[in-house]
C-alpha cells in the first residue's frame, strides 16, 4: 500500500497562515513511520488528511490500497469517504473521550458495525482486537466509564483495530501512559507491523521513535524538513535543532562512545554490543 502527498497545503481559515505548506511525502509498504515536531507544527492536521477528515486546500493525496485506490483533493469529490476511513484507522489523541456505549464490547463493535453492517463478523473482529490489547472476557460487559485511564485507552484503540484497517494511525498514543502500558503499546505496534500493515505514529517520545520507527518525518512550521531513518534523523544536528527534538538515550550513549552502528536502537542492543566489545 502507498500514501502519496502531492504538494499538499492546508489552512483552517483562509485568513490565517497555512498550517501545512507544500507537503510532499511518499509513505509506502508495511513500515512504522513516526511523525515528530513541536506542538503546533501540524502533525495532527497532517494525519487527519490521510483519513479524509480534512481535505487539502491545495494539492492532492493518493491512497493506494491492496485492492482499491482513492484520490483526496478539493476538486475531486471522493464519495467513498467511508471506505477511506475504514482502510485508514485513526486513533485520536486521548481516544478514551470517544467511548459512549453501555459496555466495552458494544463500544468496540461500534466501528466495525458501521463499516460492515454484519453483527457476527463485527463481534468476532472486536473480540479479536480486544484480546490483542490484553482485555479479556471479564471486561466485555463492563461499562467503559468504570475502567482505569489505561484500560479506557486500550478499549478505544481496540475500537479502531476492530475494523481491521490496512493503515493504523496513532496520534500521541503514549501521552500520559504509565511505563507498563507503554511497553504493551510497543509490543502491539510491532505485532501489527508483522501483520503487514502500515503504522503511522505521532509522538514526542524520541526513545520510542528511535526504537520502533523505520522512518521519521520531521515537521516544522507545517513543512516537512526531514524524512529519514531514525539514526540519520538524529545524526543531523540542524534538523534536531530546528525541530527542537530531544536526543534519544541510546543515540546519546552511542554518540558519546563514538559507536557508529545504525542498528543499535534499543538499550538491550546497546548492552549486547558493549558486552561483545568487552569480551574482545
Amino acid at each position: 500500500m502507498r500514501i502519496n502527498f502531492n504538494e499538499v497545503s492546508f489552512t483552517y481559515n483562509s485568513k490565517i497562515d497555512y498550517v501545512l505548506k507544500d507537503v510532499d511525502l511518499e509513505l509506502s509498504n508495511n513500515q512504522i513511520i513516526f511523525i515528530m515536531g513541536e506542538s503546533g507544527s501540524g502533525k495532527s492536521t497532517l494525519i487527519q488528511h490521510i483519513n479524509a477528515l480534512l481535505i487539502p486546500s491545495k494539492g492532492e493525496i493518493n491512497l493506494q490500497f491492496n485492492d482499491d485506490s482513492f484520490v483526496i483533493s478539493k476538486n475531486h469529490k471522493e464519495k467513498r469517504l467511508k471506505q477511506i476511513r475504514r482502510h485508514c484507522g485513526l486513533v485520536f489523541q486521548f481516544p478514551e473521550h470517544q467511548l459512549f456505549e453501555v459496555n466495552v464490547l458494544k463500544d468496540v463493535m461500534f466501528g466495525p458495525l458501521n463499516f460492515t453492517r454484519d453483527d457476527k463478523l463485527s463481534e468476532e473482529w472486536s473480540k479479536d482486537a480486544l484480546s490483542k490489547l490484553g482485555i479479556d472476557k471479564s471486561y466485555y460487559q463492563r461499562s467503559p466509564f468504570d475502567l482505569s485511564g489505561g484500560e479506557k485507552r486500550k478499549v478505544a484503540i481496540a475500537g479502531i483495530l476492530a475494523s481491521r484497517p490496512q493503515v493504523l494511525i496513532l496520534d500521541e498514543p503514549s501521552a500520559s501512559l504509565d511505563a507498563n502500558s507503554k511497553e504493551e503499546l510497543v509490543k502491539l505496534i510491532r505485532e501489527i507491523k508483522n501483520q503487514g500493515k502500515m503504522i503511522i505514529v505521532v509522538s514526542h517520545d524520541v526513545d520510542l521513535a528511535y526504537e520502533l520507527a523505520d522512518k521519521i518525518v520531521v515537521l516544522s512550521n507545517g513543512k516537512v524538513i526531514s524524512y529519514k531513518t531514525p539514526y540519520d534523523t538524529f545524526n543531523d544536528k540542524e534538523i534536531v535543532e530546528t525541530a527542537n527534538l530531544e536526543t534519544p538515550f541510546v543515540y546519546k550513549i552511542s554518540d558519546a562512545l563514538n559507536i557508529e552502528d545504525k542498528n543499535l536502537r534499543r538499550i538491550g542492543d546497546l548492552a549486547t554490543y558493549l558486552r561483545g566489545k568487552a569480551n574482545e
Binding site: 487527519q48 473521550h97 467511548l99 459512549f100 461500534f110 466501528g111 458501521n114
Partner: protein, 267 residues
C-alpha cells in the same frame, strides 16, 4: 462547526472594547427591547444600520455572525412553510393548484428572521468585546439589588460567566468528538436517519461525560485556590464611568429618540 468565534472574546483595541461593561450591558439590553417592539420598516432599518455601524466600530468579524446564521436557514424555511400554511390572511400573492398563498405569512417570517439576526448581532457585540471577568462584574452590578432578598448575587454572576466561558470550549470538544466518531464510520452528513440518531448518541454521551468531568475539575481547582462563595469579594479592579461612556449613552439616547420618531411618523 469549525472556527466558531461566536461568544468568544476578541482582543482588540476599539471604542466599544473600552466602554465600561456596565454601560455596555445596559445598552445591549435596551437595544434588545427595541428589537422586540412591533415591527415597523423604517425604524427597524435604522436600528439595523446602527448595529452594523457598531459592529464595524468594534471590529467584529461579520463572517462569524454569518456562520451562526447559516445553519439556521432550514429552521427559517420550515418557519416560512408553517406560516404560509397556518396564517390565512392578507393579499393573495399566487395560487398553486387552488392553494392560495397570502403575503402576511411571508412578511411575518421576514420580521422574525430579521429579529433573530439582530439579536445575534447584539449578543456578538457584547461577548466579543467584553472579557468574561468583566461580564461577571457587570452582571453582578445589576444583580446587586437582589442581595436585599438574601440572594447570593456573586454566585449567580459567576455561574453565568462560567457558562459563557465554556461555550467555545464545548464547541471545540464537540468538533473533536465528532471527528473521532466520523473516523469510526459515523456519517453525520449523509447517513440514513437511523445511522444519524446513533451518531448523535455517540456524540452526546461523551460530551456529557467530559462536561461533568470538566465541571468537577473546575470546582476542585476553584476550591483549592480558596474560593468561598459566602465571603464577600473584594474588587481588585476599579471600574469608572468615563467620558466615552457618557458620550455613548448620550448618543444612544439620541438614537432612541430618532428610532421612536421614525416609528411614529413612518410605516
Amino acid at each position: 462547526m469549525n472556527n466558531v468565534v461566536f461568544g468568544r472574546y476578541q482582543n482588540k483595541d476599539t471604542l466599544v472594547h473600552k466602554l465600561d461593561v456596565r454601560v455596555k450591558l445596559f445598552l445591549m439590553i435596551a437595544l434588545m427591547v427595541l428589537v422586540f417592539l412591533p415591527f415597523k420598516a423604517y425604524s427597524f432599518a435604522f436600528l439595523f444600520l446602527f448595529l452594523i455601524i457598531s459592529l464595524v466600530i468594534a471590529k467584529v468579524n461579520f463572517i462569524s455572525i454569518y456562520r451562526v446564521v447559516k445553519p439556521m436557514r432550514f429552521m427559517f424555511i420550515i418557519l416560512l412553510i408553517i406560516n404560509v400554511l397556518t396564517i390565512r390572511e392578507g393579499r393573495v400573492l399566487f395560487d398553486i393548484n387552488n392553494f392560495l398563498v397570502y403575503d402576511t405569512p411571508i412578511y411575518q417570517t421576514v420580521y422574525i428572521v430579521f429579529r433573530i439576526i439582530m439579536l445575534l448581532m447584539i449578543s456578538t457585540l457584547l461577548t466579543s468585546t467584553s472579557k468574561p471577568t468583566e461580564l461577571t462584574y457587570g452582571i453582578r452590578f445589576y444583580l446587586k439589588p437582589l442581595t436585599i432578598f438574601k440572594i447570593n448575587t456573586h454566585e449567580i454572576a459567576i455561574m453565568i460567566s462560567i457558562a459563557l466561558r465554556f461555550i467555545p470550549t464545548l464547541l471545540e470538544e464537540t468538533n473533536k468528538i465528532m471527528k473521532s466518531q466520523t473516523s469510526r464510520g459515523v456519517d453525520f452528513k449523509y447517513g440514513k436517519f437511523k445511522e444519524k440518531t446513533l451518531g448523535i448518541t455517540s456524540l452526546i454521551v461523551p460530551l456529557f461525560v467530559s462536561s461533568f468531568e470538566k465541571a468537577d475539575d473546575l470546582a476542585i481547582a476553584m476550591l483549592s485556590r480558596g474560593y468561598d462563595s459566602d465571603k464577600a469579594r473584594s474588587e481588585y479592579r476599579r471600574f469608572k464611568i468615563g467620558r466615552k461612556d457618557v458620550m455613548s449613552i448620550l448618543l444612544f439616547i439620541l438614537f432612541t429618540a430618532v428610532y421612536f420618531l421614525l416609528r411614529r411618523y413612518t410605516i
